[in-house]
């Protein structure tokens, strides 16, 4: 009985995953330097819309959180907040070496060194900077991953929320901070 129900659900999920794979709406979190690689990816040379990809204005509408470049402690808090505002299923793509291992800022007092410690990264795009070809290639991978149901970062985050939260608190002390401008 249970297996049956799981199967039905799986079919439904499969169809949904097909849609999700071919309609990738992104929220770009571009406080680092990588944002400049996105326009060529969008425009006629590479045309990411043909894969159903496109930028979105708010995290509520987006499926993919694309984080380009380094993240300081301060921006990391905002990224986590944005990620939590996104709707399931959601995917995180780390863009550039800085998200991967801190890049040239590995020893900075302000920038974190690995994103997957705080958020479930489904895919990294290495390089400093990765060129549009690399972006297109990696998104092709992401599409395949989603289609196969392998991009399960959001589930991982739900299931291991404690662990992520502990890491976040270790590095940031608090995620939701107050500052004087919003008092």
């Amino acid at each position: 009985m249970t297996t049956n129900a799981k199967d039905v659900r799986k079919t439904w999920e499969k169809i949904a995953d097909y849609f999700r794979a071919h309609s990738i709406w992104m929220k770009w979190y571009c406080t680092g330097c990588g944002a400049i690689e996105m326009p060529p990816t969008m425009t006629s040379r590479f045309d990411m819309e043909r894969l159903g990809m496109g930028p979105m204005a708010t995290p509520r509408q987006a499926d993919v959180l694309l984080i380009t470049g380094y993240l300081s402690a301060k921006t990391l808090r905002r990224v986590i907040y944005s990620y939590e505002q996104m709707q399931d299923p959601k995917y995180v793509v780390g863009f550039g070496s800085c998200t991967l291992n801190g890049g040239i800022y590995f020893d900075s007092y302000a920038t974190m060194t690995r994103l997957d410690h705080y958020l479930p990264v489904d895919l990294y795009i290495a390089g400093c900077m990765p060129r549009p070809e690399a972006i297109m290639n990696s998104f092709d991978t992401l599409i395949k991953m989603i289609e196969k149901g392998e991009a399960k970062g959001w589930k991982h985050y739900q299931e291991n929320h404690e662990w992520y939260r502990r890491n976040q608190l270790h590095s940031l002390k608090e995620v939701y901070v107050k500052d004087e401008f919003h008092e």
């Binding site: 402690a73 301060k74 808090r77 991967l100 291992n101 801190g102 590995f106 020893d107 900075s108 007092y109 302000a110 920038t111 974190m112 060194t113 690995r114 410690h117 890491n167 270790h170 590095s171 940031l172 002390k173 608090e174 901070v177 500052d179 004087e180």
Partner: protein, 171 residues
Amino acid sequence: MNSTNKLVEEIRQRFEIIDVIHPDDQQVILDIDKMHLHTLLSHLKADGFRQLSLLSAVDWIKDNIFELVYIVFNWDTGVHVLARVKLPRDNPRFRTITPIYPGAQYYERDVHEFFGIEFEGNPMSYKPLFLELWDEMPPMRKDFDPEAYSREKFPERVYVPHFVPKVEVIE
């Protein structure tokens, strides 16, 4: 060398200037005793230097001093004046210039946050500006070790070497 010369002459007459450097036609660097900085800035502001372009600090750790750098700018003549004062590195304190340049408030907060220099008379300067929840020594001091801090706070990715290249020496 005309307008700045005149300016420098005038300032020399009024204030005790330790040193003057002319890096450029339109730029003057004045080393001044910290006693005279406020009067100098007041004078400059009255003289047309309405804009405080920058207030920053330099940590001369070997000399055990902090150097405060004030850059003011005159929109009419296009002249930059950079005034430098030296402070002792232990317990660095200085008087605020917010009565002269109110905009200095944020610079002073910045300098306080990153160097730990206190500005008397600017209560706002004790509030953090950039660093959220900072609990260490001010990070721009030369004796602060950012790498150690980073190691402790931000766990690094540990790479497992999958492949060790063999090096052949070719005679």
